[in-house]
Symmetry: none
Subunit: 205 residues, 4 copies
Amino acid sequence: MSPTSTQVARRDAILAAAVAVFGAAGFADAGVDEIARRAGVAKPTVYNHFGDKRGLLLESIRWATARAQQRVMGALSGLDPSAADLRAELERVSRALIECLLSDEGTAVMRLQVSEQHHLAELDSLRLGARQATVEALAGRLAIIAAHGRLRLPDPVLAARHLMALTSDEPLAESGFGARRLQPDEVVGPVRDGVDTFLAAFGVD
Amino acid sequence: MSPTSTQVARRDAILAAAVAVFGAAGFADAGVDEIARRAGVAKPTVYNHFGDKRGLLLESIRWATARAQQRVMGALSGLDPSAADLRAELERVSRALIECLLSDEGTAVMRLQVSEQHHLAELDSLRLGARQATVEALAGRLAIIAAHGRLRLPDPVLAARHLMALTSDEPLAESGFGARRLQPDEVVGPVRDGVDTFLAAFGVD
Amino acid sequence: MSPTSTQVARRDAILAAAVAVFGAAGFADAGVDEIARRAGVAKPTVYNHFGDKRGLLLESIRWATARAQQRVMGALSGLDPSAADLRAELERVSRALIECLLSDEGTAVMRLQVSEQHHLAELDSLRLGARQATVEALAGRLAIIAAHGRLRLPDPVLAARHLMALTSDEPLAESGFGARRLQPDEVVGPVRDGVDTFLAAFGVD
Amino acid sequence: MSPTSTQVARRDAILAAAVAVFGAAGFADAGVDEIARRAGVAKPTVYNHFGDKRGLLLESIRWATARAQQRVMGALSGLDPSAADLRAELERVSRALIECLLSDEGTAVMRLQVSEQHHLAELDSLRLGARQATVEALAGRLAIIAAHGRLRLPDPVLAARHLMALTSDEPLAESGFGARRLQPDEVVGPVRDGVDTFLAAFGVD
DNA sequence: GATGAATGAGTTTTCATTCAT
DNA sequence: CATGAATGAAAACTCATTCAT
């Protein structure tokens, strides 16, 4: 029998609660009790669905990673290769990417992936996969721009990595990997600087 | 009365054990029991010295951060502004920096700072301070090189940040922020690529 | 949902065990472990029901005080105002009261109320309330006797207090406030003496 | 060699601190650390003098009991058998007795004797001895008064016990056995009432 | 003999996990 | 299947007591 829609809703409620609680408190300090309470279900229901706490963590990170990745892809697909002002377009998309990274769910995922690897080796491939997918997507767009003759890119994938590194490193560090919310201009400035350097390296004239 | 040398040795042994255990397991999963055992002291001795588990974490991160910072500074001071092969010199120093970051103590510090901020807001200033000191030191060296006319740097501090971002981002991500030991060529390649882009942006001719 | 009968039984078992253990060892030396073992439940069950050790103490004293008070009231209601031999009747009831005070539960309550007031200020009103209720009930009975013309009582409440003081002081002191079990004649004699003095003061020739 | 005077002073300082701390917190909750700190000595000094915590309790109760007993005897020796107003004299002395009982040291002793008997069976004889000495002393005085024809006392010891019971029961109960300080009129009234009844029973018309 | 530091043993409390309903 | 209550295992922390100086 296929799962009913209330079952799916319940499952999603648990996953959302888990991401929030795990992200805020970390795996060890998160209580299954509180996750169940937030999801509006009883504790054994959580266990029925996910086996144990570790399984819940794994599944909730998978779930949140997929959602985050979707938002990232949305942001990247908004990059217009023929935009009149290339510099402005790169800054806009870089800011959008950083917003995804620093959103509530984004930071929850990021921090859990960094801090809970000893609990879940399975996470690593997930994290790297997401990173690679993002890089590839960005590289594709940059390649199109290069094909238009507006960038000089011997290796679009490398360029994509470097663009991300240049623009996101500073905001990530400043925010404490998502622990603190950034003010808008704490993103705008570093992104402009990063794109500057990127264009100095890869720009045409 | 000033502390005797056994006192200091004991204290350092506890701190070293704490960094190792906290770094490997995270704050919550680390047991004071095990830290004491590794340090070769009884549990109450740990409490006598550091008050409680939280105080021990704080102090051990302070201690390890200071040691790591010293090693980083040592690496940077090795940058020779008049080296014949500038590209090679930048690569060498970048690799040295990354080795510091990915050393046992370095990764312990990094992962704790990322994952335990909800336990210790005090950590944030420490982390940012260390980062800034490193950036400033590197910026100073780069400025000298620029003064020799071998780099074109409108803003040495920004250049320092970008050099670090370009060279270290990939190795950090690949290693899972220190969870996995990297093979030498997992560092060499990305560093070369990073320095390439850096020189494309800031190099002279 | 109303508690099932096993719930109540379990709760009462814990309370009875707690009164016994607290009474014998005092609050600090009593172990929740032993209370749980005696009650035939697991330790966390105790915590689920009563929150913490302090809450368990409070609740168990409330419970035991109520039970003791019930027994005291039973004893007092047995005082027959028209008994042929008034002296014998007063002695009988006084002995019954003292038996309540020196019963296992009675002494547990008494000693905890004396010794653990720094843990539980709430206890004080409980103790005084129980004392007052007893005094009032006894006063009521004495007043009836006085109305029959067999005692001369300007103030029945005062007389009740004095009767209790005269008969119970010595046995309480001798027993070490319940620490030692008394032989029957260690109660009989002092009670007779106390009633003697009481009647010398309030008797009608 | 006889102990030097500083040794005696130190010893007394420890005992005084012990009585205060034990009396306020009870045996189990009292810390040897705090006793040592209050006495201005190091912890091992306490152990050198008294062996262990139990020994310190025992010795400090002995010491405080002796001091309290001295004060009680002083109060009783002030009873003037030929005072013009016998009622006033009995009230005065009864109040003095109660003041001894409810003084800081007095309540400390009383509460420890009640609550720590499972720690120290030796205490019992001490307590009973002190009680008996007090009763005997009071009985002696009452006997003199009776010899003067101002009281009719078949058994002076019994009368002494009853006078103490009648006057001190209520204040002791009200004060929670010394937990709460009484207002003066919380002593005066009950004492007057107690002496009233005493004289009604034993007075000469 | 007095002290500062160290320790061994024990206690309260918590929490992931599982029955019984 | 969902729930309320129960449990086993573990971990932080404390404290009486003892060395080394």
